[in-house]
């Protein structure tokens, strides 16, 4: 547990010399096993790097150490009417260093972007313990945009100790619209219709009936329990602007068959609407001994199709699944409910999860929207990327870390592993003339 940059450098220099793996760790809230210790390695806990170094309101930025909690940044910026936009549901616990590593999102990222879009500069150390900076307080930097690849690299390219984030003005007003739908298809279509109408909501979330029932008994958010699905649709901005947009959104949702619409009348009600969504994970923990949270992204228009596929999988694996979506981004979080004490349920749950990821890739999406690959989705990487592409990623890793001591064994599976997983031939191998490149 180093406390100074010099200590971080010293740990890295020593480990690099001895070839000992180093796994950086923030708050350990990661959902893909990214910070899981290595059998022969060192855990570099950055929890003590917890100072907000400065808030510069005129430059609209904050400089913080990597172990600072996501929410603390917005708290420090609040007196200036500013905030840090990405707001993962785990924001009271997760660190900005972990957010950088996972390129974390939140319910507002459709309008305000992911971590990448809100970071200006990173300071940290290479695998060999050399100090390095990516980005700057200016809006671009010379050379390749290394910052953009370090963000989302799951602690495998560098250890980050200090982060400069962009702050944005807090919108004066936010209101949330709660809409019920009698079937999932209609809810899915409503999401596409809102976007097609030229609206970029500040948040656009979907929950299915099993999920609303679970959270309702937990937090009493006032959700419509008869609805097959509900949508939460938020607008923020000036008072007039929000008024105009809420009217527009309401009209679109109604024309898409919304059976019930309510608009938050004050901040307390808005927070109540959101409390259900934000407590989706703990609520699932109450209706089932265990749950596994998946995190894939699909094109929005395939949402209804995906939900039907998940329903079929419930029967196939004889397990229940509750669904919450960052619908605006097409990012799904199916929560598969199971009991880990029953080894067969655990086995079926893992197969269920892998099938969801595979289906997502086939629908034109990706195996991870915001939680990362870590250890958990290594096999699924074989489905999404060709051997050449994975080889190229390994080469990128080696360009930053030639001895491969930073968080080894995560994110990019070896050829051998994919061969065992049996996906070698499915990706491009089934195409005729597989050796020809094609669009």
């Amino acid at each position: 547990m180093p406390q100074t940059e010099a200590q971080v450098a010293a740990v890295l220099v020593a480990c690099h010399e001895l070839g000992v793996p180093v796994v950086a760790r923030g708050a350990g809230t990661g959902l893909s096993g990214g910070a899981t210790p290595h059998r022969f390695g060192v855990i570099l806990s950055l929890a003590r790097f917890n100072r907000v170094i400065r808030v510069d309101p005129l430059n609209c930025l904050a400089v913080v150490e990597c172990g600072v909690r996501n929410l603390s940044i917005s708290e420090a910026a609040a007196p200036f009417g500013l905030y840090y936009a990405p707001d993962p549901s785990s924001q009271i616990a997760c660190t900005i260093g972990g957010n950088i590593a996972e390129n974390s999102g939140g319910v507002h990222c459709l309008k305000y972007g992911l971590t990448l879009h809100n970071v200006l500069k990173l300071r940290g150390f290479t695998a060999s313990g050399e100090l390095i900076e990516f980005g700057s307080e200016a809006l671009d930097s010379p050379g390749l945009d290394l910052l953009s690849i370090v963000v989302g690299s799951e602690g495998m390219l560098a250890v980050i100790t200090e982060v400069t984030v962009k702050l944005i003005p807090k919108p004066p007003v936010a209101r949330c619209l709660l809409a019920s739908f009698a079937d999932l298809e209609a809810a899915g279509n409503a999401v596409a219709a809102v976007i097609a109408a030229g609206i970029i909501p500040a948040g656009l979330e979907l929950m299915d009936r099993r999920m609303t029932a679970a959270v309702e008994s937990f937090v009493h958010a006032g959700y419509d329990l008869n609805a097959a699905a509900i949508l939460l649709c938020e607008s923020d901005g000036t008072c007039d602007e929000v008024e105009e947009e809420i009217g527009h959104m309401g009209a679109v949702l109604k024309s898409c068959g919304a059976t019930r619409l309510s608009v938050s009348q004050d901040e307390a009600e808005r927070l109540r609407f959101w409390s259900g969504r934000k407590n989706a994970f703990p609520a699932s923990g109450r209706i089932s001994p265990d749950y596994m949270c998946m995190d894939s992204t699909i094109p929005r228009k395939r949402m209804a199709e995906m939900l039907r596929a998940i329903e079929a999988m419930e029967l196939k694996y004889d397990l229940r699944c509750a669904n919450v979506f960052h619908a605006g981004d097409g990012n799904l979080h199916p929560l598969i409910l199971f009991d880990a004490n029953d080894p067969d349920q655990l086995r079926r749950c893992e197969l269920f999860g892998a099938e969801i990821l595979e289906a997502s890739v086939h629908l034109g999406g990706t195996i991870s929207g915001e939680h990362g690959v870590g250890l958990e989705k290594l096999n699924s990487m074989c489905v999404q990327f060709s051997p050449l592409e994975r080889q190229q990623m390994i080469a990128v890793k080696r360009a930053f870390d030639p001895k491969e001591i930073l968080n080894p064994g995560k994110v990019i599976p070896t050829l051998h592993r994919c061969a065992e997983y049996g996906k070698m031939t499915v990706h491009r191998g089934l195409l005729p003339f597989a050796e020809l490149p094609r669009f």
């Binding site: 309101p57 005129l58 430059n59 609209c60 009417g81 390129n103 992911l114 290479t126 050399e130 900076e133 700057s136 200016a138 671009d140 010379p142 050379g143 390749l144 945009d145 290394l146 953009s148 690849i149 989302g152 390219l157 003005p169 807090k170 596409a192 976007i195 097609a196 030229g198 970029i200 901005g237 000036t238 007039d240 602007e241 105009e244 992204t297 094109p299 228009k301 981004d329 034109g364 999406g365 990706t366 195996i367 991870s368 929207g369 915001e370 990487m381 990327f385 060709s386 050449l388 592409e389 190229q392 990623m393 080469a395 990128v396 080696r398 360009a399 994110v411 490149p437 094609r438 669009f439």
Partner: protein, 366 residues
């Protein structure tokens, strides 16, 4: 010829160049030939790799082949009431999507909406071995593996041939309005800086020759409220659009260093600095954008002096027009730290081990 066949031809050219160890100069529309180091090597044309491969307005995503002209792409987007929010410059009508990504330059809206890399969701790339690979994807959120597609943005083509790009698009704003003030450069910087921290629909700012201009974009209600609050004089719609387009595409005389009226020893520098940096140059030599974070400086001062100013302010300076860009005299881009340079060299080897692509356009080393 079909796109698959064209792609195949590119691969063959790469293999041939590899055998002869002869460098390749990747050519799109040639609209930014002046940018970065001088092009060298045999031409590798990607301009014919064109067309939209998919466009789903409700997904806010368009996928276009690298040779697609920016003007064409814009036309298609406008039909669905959408656009590229980052305002990429079109220094000529020949500018292509691939060149836009490789150069990584964004226009006047950069400070408020983000740059090219913030909108690139995926690319298909041919590496130095002639292998076609796809990174990123066609969805907005994606953290599977390293996102190599973002690394291609601003790479000046040194990592590989960009063949296809998926971009995030946005709905056109309902209203667009320009306001202006007659004030000095320092006062303008102060105003621009202060506005940034307020919830206003400011999309672009510029200061040039005693005039501060500001573009508002957003809903009718928001733009109206901001106009009332800011109280600048309002600029007629056509005139406003013309100003921002000419600024984006560098059509003003200020950007023409080869114009006869201008001293022969002047160069045009692009200084990217923190928005709150001091003015640092005589106000008659500068054009300011991006709320103060971008400063175009026409000067005959030496590269060293200009770069010192930029570095002290916490930014960097690029030699944009004019001057001698042969590396012996002055590198167009600011030098990198040793640690960063080492990663650069390793990445170059990882993608293009035989140093085929665009030698010297990004760094003197490769």
């Amino acid at each position: 010829m079909s796109n698959d066949a064209q792609l195949h031809q590119l691969v063959e050219q790469i293999h041939a160049a590899r055998e002869r160890r002869a460098p390749l100069n990747i050519c799109g529309g040639g609209s930014k030939i002046f940018y970065g180091g001088m092009p060298r090597g045999d031409a590798l044309h990607v301009g014919s790799l064109e067309g939209i491969s998919s466009y789903e307005p409700t997904e806010l995503v368009v996928t276009a082949r690298a040779g697609t002209k920016l003007v064409e792409l814009e036309k298609i987007l406008v039909q669905k009431n959408q656009y590229l929010a980052f305002d990429p410059p079109q220094f000529s009508a020949s500018a292509t999507v691939g060149g836009m990504v490789a150069a990584g330059l964004a226009g006047p809206a950069r400070a408020s909406v983000g740059g090219v890399r913030d909108y690139v969701l995926g690319v298909a790339l041919l590496n130095g071995r002639g292998e076609l690979m796809r990174f990123g994807g066609q969805v907005i959120k994606n953290v599977a593996g390293y996102d190599v597609s973002r690394l291609a943005v601003g790479s000046m083509g040194v990592l590989g041939v960009i063949c296809e790009v998926s971009l995030k698009v946005l709905p056109l704003p309902a209203v667009d309005a320009t306001l202006q003030w007659e004030i000095g450069a320092n006062e303008a910087l102060e105003k621009m800086n202060q506005w940034r921290g307020q919830p206003l629909p400011i999309n672009a700012t510029s200061w040039f020759q005693g005039r501060l201009r500001l573009r508002l974009r957003g809903s009718r209600a928001a733009v109206q409220a901001a106009s009332d609050l800011l109280r600048g004089s309002s600029v007629e719609a056509n005139e406003g659009t013309q100003w921002w387009t000419e600024l984006r595409d560098h059509r003003q005389a200020f950007f023409k260093v080869d114009a006869p009226s201008i001293a022969r020893d002047q160069s045009l520098w692009r200084l990217s600095v923190p928005a709150t940096a001091q003015l640092m140059m005589p106000s008659e030599e500068v054009l300011i954008e991006w709320a103060g974070a971008l400063r175009w400086w026409r000067t005959s001062l030496s590269a060293e002096t200009v770069r010192n100013y930029a570095t002290q302010a916490g930014g960097h300076a690029t030699l944009f027009y004019g001057g001698d860009k042969s590396f012996a005299k002055c590198t167009p881009f600011a030098p990198l730290s040793e640690a960063s340079m080492r990663i650069h060299r390793n990445l170059k080897t990882a993608f293009d081990p035989d140093n085929l692509f665009n030698p010297g356009r990004l760094c003197a080393d490769f």
